[in-house]
């Protein structure tokens, strides 16, 4: 009996926590009063521009400023990512992964956003998809979709920049991911990888089975919260280091430079080249993109910049251990071309090229 009450209390507390977090976000949306004052105004106010303390004050004030705007959003994004990761039926998704091409592409697109907020599950899943016989196409689709459009990045892009940009990011990333998958699976080197990973279809006859157990709700909620904490621990240190850099860039890059280099067709090209190979830790690309956008970068260039995330070097290195470098080079090029194309399209459609 006592065990039961304990569980009930725990369940209530945890549910209350998640409801409060969601409520906080809604509340902050409803009562949002956009303030024009930025950390630079504070720098002027305290007369820090001429002081030797400037180089300490910039990152400190920038981070304080950023978190004062973003803490609800970050808390919400991490909590929701934890919840979704815990409650999405992973075994159902993975079971259908090996069944045919169309199902493979569909699942790769649908599951990437939910399963891979953590990079350590991404490359193993890429290998797993290959071995399961879904083919190299869906594996590449999954690989490109995961960092581009996971729950965390979409929520942050939507809340911090705009939901129109977040929507464009999802659609464009999905399109590019599928196209890259189709192209790679049609190349001779893509086919070679597929063959190498082919396994005899004998899983049905083996004694092994999957019978996942489900713990009670209170334990699952607790696990969701723990996973959210784990994610925060993994991502936030790099995010804060990133913010320090963004703070300096924001303080010292004049608007004229952004306006002249990061707009128009050249702006998209530059943004796509900078956004890709240049490795930015997760979420930092959003903060930097937001800052550049405030300084006058076009929306088209902003989308290209955000879409650069999946084809950075760290990712490519991990993948080249499994697949041939030719495969990596192919999807690299397709992803880059895609980010330029969709940058143009979005720039023209939104009237901000």
């Amino acid at each position: 009996m006592e065990e039961k009450t304990k569980r009930a209390v725990r369940k209530a507390v945890l549910l209350a926590f998640f409801i409060i977090v969601i409520g906080l976000l809604i509340y902050s949306r409803v009562t949002a009063r956009p303030t024009k004052e930025t950390f630079k105004d504070k720098l002027s106010e305290f007369g820090l521009w001429e002081s030797p303390l400037l180089y300490v004050a910039i990152p400190a004030l920038y981070i304080a400023d950023y978190f004062s705007h973003a803490w609800i959003c970050l808390l919400f994004a991490f909590s929701v990512a934890g919840l979704i990761y815990e409650f999405v039926p992973k075994e159902t998704i993975t079971r259908y992964m090996g069944r045919g091409k169309a199902a493979g592409y569909g699942l790769a697109l649908c599951m990437a956003p939910f399963l891979t907020v953590c990079s350590c599950t991404m490359v193993p899943l890429f290998g797993g998809i290959l071995y399961a016989g879904a083919g190299v196409g869906p594996a590449i689709t999954f690989l490109l979709m995961a960092p581009a459009a996971n729950i965390l990045t979409i929520l942050m892009t939507g809340e911090m920049i705009s939901w129109a940009v977040a929507g464009a990011r999802i659609i464009a990333s999905a399109a590019v991911a599928v196209i890259a998958g189709l192209i790679v699976s049609a190349t001779p080197w893509g086919k070679a990888v597929e063959k190498e990973f082919q396994v005899a279809d004998s899983a049905a006859g083996s004694s092994a089975k999957v019978e996942v157990v489900k713990p009670p709700l209170d334990e699952r909620l607790w696990a969701a919260l723990k996973f959210a904490g784990y994610l925060a621990k993994q991502i936030l240190p790099f995010f804060i280091i990133g913010l320090i850099v963004v703070g300096y860039l924001s303080a010292f890059i004049p608007e004229e430079i952004v306006e002249s280099y990061l707009t128009g067709p050249t702006g998209i090209l530059i943004a796509s080249v900078l956004g890709g190979p240049l490795y930015t830790p997760t979420l930092v690309e959003i903060a930097l993109g937001q800052e550049l956008w405030n300084k006058g970068m076009s929306k088209g260039a902003l989308l290209s910049w955000l879409m650069g995330q999946p084809y950075d070097f760290a990712n490519a290195m991990a993948v080249s251990r499994i697949a041939k470098w030719k495969v990596v080079a192919t999807y690299f090029i397709v992803a880059w071309a895609g980010s330029v194309t969709f940058g143009f399209l979005y720039g023209m459609l939104s009237g901000s090229l």
Binding site: Y85, E86, K90, E91, T94, R95, M97, G98, L115, C118, C120, T121, V123, P124, L125, G127, G128, I129, Y131, A132, F197, V199, A200, S202, A203, S206, S207, A208, K209, V210, E211, V212, V213, P215, E219, A223, K226, F227, Y230, Q234, I322
Partner: protein, 90 residues
């Protein structure tokens, strides 16, 4: 004397959450040893042909007990693993 095989399935080199899962299994095994259950803890590579052939695509960390995957993509508590092993040993 009962014997139970527990496979902790994760990528190679192991990720942090897979190490946490393995620790939970080892803790449970240690405790069960006193109760007379022999637990063989094995580490399996999630990206090897054998494992995918056996279980299909998995999300790491996964735990299989006596050739049946019980846990996918989460870190269980030692108590939970203990319960599962006792069930399998029956």
């Amino acid at each position: 004397m009962k014997e139970v095989k527990v496979e902790v399935i994760g990528p190679e080199p192991p990720c942090m959450r897979c190490q946490a899962a393995k620790k939970a299994v080892e803790k449970a095994a240690e405790k069960l040893k006193q109760a007379g259950v022999v637990v063989n803890v094995e580490k399996a590579n999630i990206m090897s042909k054998e494992i995918v052939q056996k279980y299909g695509v998995l999300v790491s960390p996964a735990i299989a007990i006596n050739n049946a995957v019980k846990i996918i993509g989460r870190v269980p508590s030692p108590e939970e693993v203990e319960k599962l092993i006792i069930e399998a040993a029956k």
